[in-house]
Each structure stands twice: as C-alpha cells, then as structure tokens.
C-alpha cells in the first residue's frame, strides 16, 4: 500500500474516532443539561433503564391520574406482578408504539397496560409541544426517540431543537445540581 493511501486511511480513521468521541461527549452533555425540576418523568425513565435486562413483568403506558385503577405496588402485593411505568401525564396515543419498542429493547414484558382515554384526543400545537418535551426530552438518544420526534414535530418551526434538545437546554448550566449528574438519562 502506498504511503499516500496509508495516510488517507489513517486520516479517515482518525476523523471517525474524533467524531465518535464528540458524539459521546455531546450525548452525555445533553443528558446532564436536561432540566430535573420540570416533572418526575425523567426519574421514572431512569428507574426503568436501571432494570436488569430481559425481566418479565408488566409495562405500564398509563397515566398517573389512573393510579387508583391499577397501582404498581398493589399489583405486586396482591398478584405478584412486577410492573414498571414509562409514561407521562396525558401521553399522546401516537407515541405508544415507539415507547413499546423502547421497552422491548431491554425488557420482556408479558403484559402491557395501556391508557386508552387519550385515543380520541386531538391536541393543539402547544399541548403537543409540552407532551413531546416531557417524553422526548427525557428519553435516551435512540431510533425510537427519533421516530417520536419526527412524527410529533411535523409542521413545527424549530424541529431541530426537539431532536437535539441540547439546543434548547444548553443554557441550563446555571441550574445544574448534583441530581443532574446523577441521573443516567
């Protein structure tokens, strides 16, 4: 192999490594910069991600306000069912398939409990935006997250800041707490 080719391969390899490290750093920075004070969904997703892989149980795509109808600790106490929530308040129905895909990346639930009251909802843009922020701004960077963002931001002016939420939250460095570093998502 000629020296010139070797140089070029080395250059391409170096560039790829540089970009990969930059990607990891930016992703980690994104997770750290996400606000921790908006709601507890971030902690819920973090809790879900801490579960060991391949666990049986019940995935809850369920709103908090319906807790009296099906409560996790009661399900465990009375039926011995392990369950975990991965939902936000007033979760739009169209994010459910992507959230199920996300769950099945690491877990093997035998049952899903899905909130159906929202099936007939027609969201206006502001509500849609708030819900998207609650969901996507707390998920790990993944293909499922990308699908959710792409689907929900159609027609939005500032779509990029949903896909790369660091664009929105980079100024949050002033509000960083110990909690910001601690939560893995």
């Amino acid at each position: 192999m000629a020296d010139e080719d070797k140089k070029q391969i080395k250059y391409i390899f170096g560039t790829a490594v540089f970009l990969a490290i930059a990607n990891v750093l930016l992703t980690l920075t994104t997770y750290v910069m996400r606000p921790t004070d908006k709601d507890f969904f971030r902690a819920r997703v973090a809790g879900f991600l801490c579960r060991r892989q391949g666990q049986p149980g019940c995935g809850r795509l369920w709103e908090q306000c319906t807790l009296p109808l099906s409560e996790q600790s009661v399900a465990w106490k009375q039926q011995g069912i392990t369950s975990y929530g991965i939902a936000t308040a007033a979760q739009p129905v169209y994010v459910i398939p992507s959230l199920i895909d996300e769950v099945e990346k690491t877990q093997s639930p035998q049952l899903y409990i899905i909130e159906t009251r929202r099936f007939t909802d027609t969201d206006n843009e502001v509500i849609k935006e708030n819900r998207l922020r609650q969901i996507a701004d707390n998920m790990k960077v993944s293909w499922n997250r990308f699908k959710i963002v792409t689907e929900l931001t159609e027609g939005f002016e500032d779509r990029l800041s949903y896909g790369f939420d660091l664009i929105k939250y980079h100024g949050n460095w002033e509000n960083l707490t110990e909690e910001s570093w601690g939560i893995s998502v």
Partner: protein
C-alpha cells in the same frame, strides 16, 4: 474563501483562513485600526474610491497648489483630505442612509486627518520629554487611546440620533457610579453573576489567543502538539461553545447590532 473585484475587474480572492479582522484593538493609531478592521471592505474602498480620487486631475492639481502654498508636508495633508473624507463619507453611508452613520464616518475621516497633522508635532514632543516609545507601557497607552477614540465613534454609530449620542456621552462622563461594580447592582443590567463570569473568562481566552496570534500562527503551533492535547483542547472548546454559546429557541440574532450590514 472570500473576495472582491478590484478596479481592473480582477477578482481578488482571500484563501479561507485569511482573517477579515486582524486583531484591530491592538492598533496603536486610528489609521492602523482601519487597516486591521474589515480588511476586504477597506481594500475595496482603497481601490475604488481613494486611489481614483487621489490620481484624478483635480486632486493632482490641488496637490501641486497646496504644496506650493503650504510646503511639502502640510500640502500633502491638504490634498489627501478630499480622498480621505470621501472614503469615510461613503463608509458611513455604506452602513446605512442615516445622518448618524454619516457623522460616524466623518468623525473617523477627521480623526485620520488630525492624526496625519499632529504626528510630526507628537514625535517632537515625545523626543523633548524623553518618553520611551519602544516599550510595552507606551504601546499600551497608544492602544488605550485608539480604543477610546474608537468607542467615542461607536456612540454615534449606536445611538438613535445625534442628540441621543451627545446625551450618552454626557451621561458617560458624569455620575459614573463605580460603586455599582462593588455592590452587586451591575448584575441587574442583564447579565447575572454566572453569565458575567462566563463573559470575563471568554474575554480572557480571547485576549490570550489574540496576544498569541500577534506573535505566532496559533493553528500551526497547535498542529505541532501531541494528539491527546490537541483533541482535549478541541473538545473543551467545542463543549464550551455548545454550552455557553448564544443560540437556540429564545435567542434573537436580529438583536445583534451588526446584523444589518
């Protein structure tokens, strides 16, 4: 890559990496400042306005008459007044069709004229007073003087009109209120303590890099460093820009003063 067409119709290209602003705040005089500030625009005005007027028949005749009447030194200054003032009048208008830009342009034209007139007297005074000119303190004084004159011009540039500019200058010279720096009130004007710290650190970084650039090619020097050092530095700068930069929702770039130009 950027460029402009010179008066012979030839496009003058500057390779990417050629700087448009050559650290103008290190300038010792106003003419030097404008040689370092917006280099391509300065070159364009030199090629299309200054030289054509300077070599016009009217200017050459004026030059002859002025030299005969006032002597070589002062005659040269008198004859160069017209091209210089024309350049600065047009530079002002280039920024906008407004009297405040005309005032700003003429202010700089007059400053450059005054600089040409007083340079010989200044040199004599420096010699008489035995002031050392080849030292850092004198250079610092010169840079400070240029900076202040430049800021003075900026007041006319930034103010809504001439009367407002005078008002700003009056207020700047009276009731400065240094105590605001100490009692924390400075943080009530838009930048809180954390943001102020970022601004100060960023300015120190900028100053350090600018000082280094005056002495060496920083990029070339960086290329000679070990890979780990280079990458750590680049990542640190990348993250600093991403985190502390001004962008994203809520940021209005049109509020930036230079946006119109």
């Amino acid at each position: 890559m950027y460029g402009y067409r010179d008066r012979n119709g030839k496009t003058v290209w500057h390779p990417s990496g050629t700087e448009l602003f050559l650290r103008p705040y290190f300038s010792k005089t106003m003419p030097e400042f404008w040689r370092r500030w917006h280099v391509t625009l300065g070159n364009w005005f030199k090629d299309y306005v200054f030289y054509p007027i300077s070599i016009s028949k009217f200017s050459l005749d004026l030059n002859k008459k002025a030299r005969k009447r006032f002597g070589n030194e002062f005659g040269r200054i008198v004859s160069s007044a017209i091209p210089i003032l024309a350049v600065w009048l047009l530079t002002g208008i280039w920024h906008g069709p407004d009297w405040k830009y005309v005032t700003w342009g003429l202010f700089h034209g007059i400053l450059i004229m005054l600089s040409m007139i007083f340079t010989p007297y200044n040199e004599k005074l420096v010699q008489k007073l035995h002031i050392k000119t080849e030292c850092f303190s004198f250079r610092l004084f010169q840079m400070g003087r240029t900076f202040l004159l430049c800021c003075l011009g900026r007041v006319f540039f930034r103010a809504d009109d001439f009367a407002s500019a005078i008002g700003i200058l009056k207020r700047a010279c009276t009731g400065i209120g240094w105590y605001r720096l100490a009692n924390g009130r400075i943080y009530n004007y838009g930048l809180n303590k954390a943001n102020m710290t970022v601004v100060i650190v960023a300015m120190l970084v900028l100053l350090t890099v600018s000082i280094l650039q005056e002495k060496m090619d920083v990029l070339e020097a960086l290329k000679k460093q070990n890979l780990v050092f280079r990458w750590v530095l680049i990542y640190a700068l990348l993250l600093a820009v991403v985190i502390f930069g001004m962008y994203g929702p809520g940021y209005d770039p049109s509020a930036f003063i230079y946006e119109k130009f």
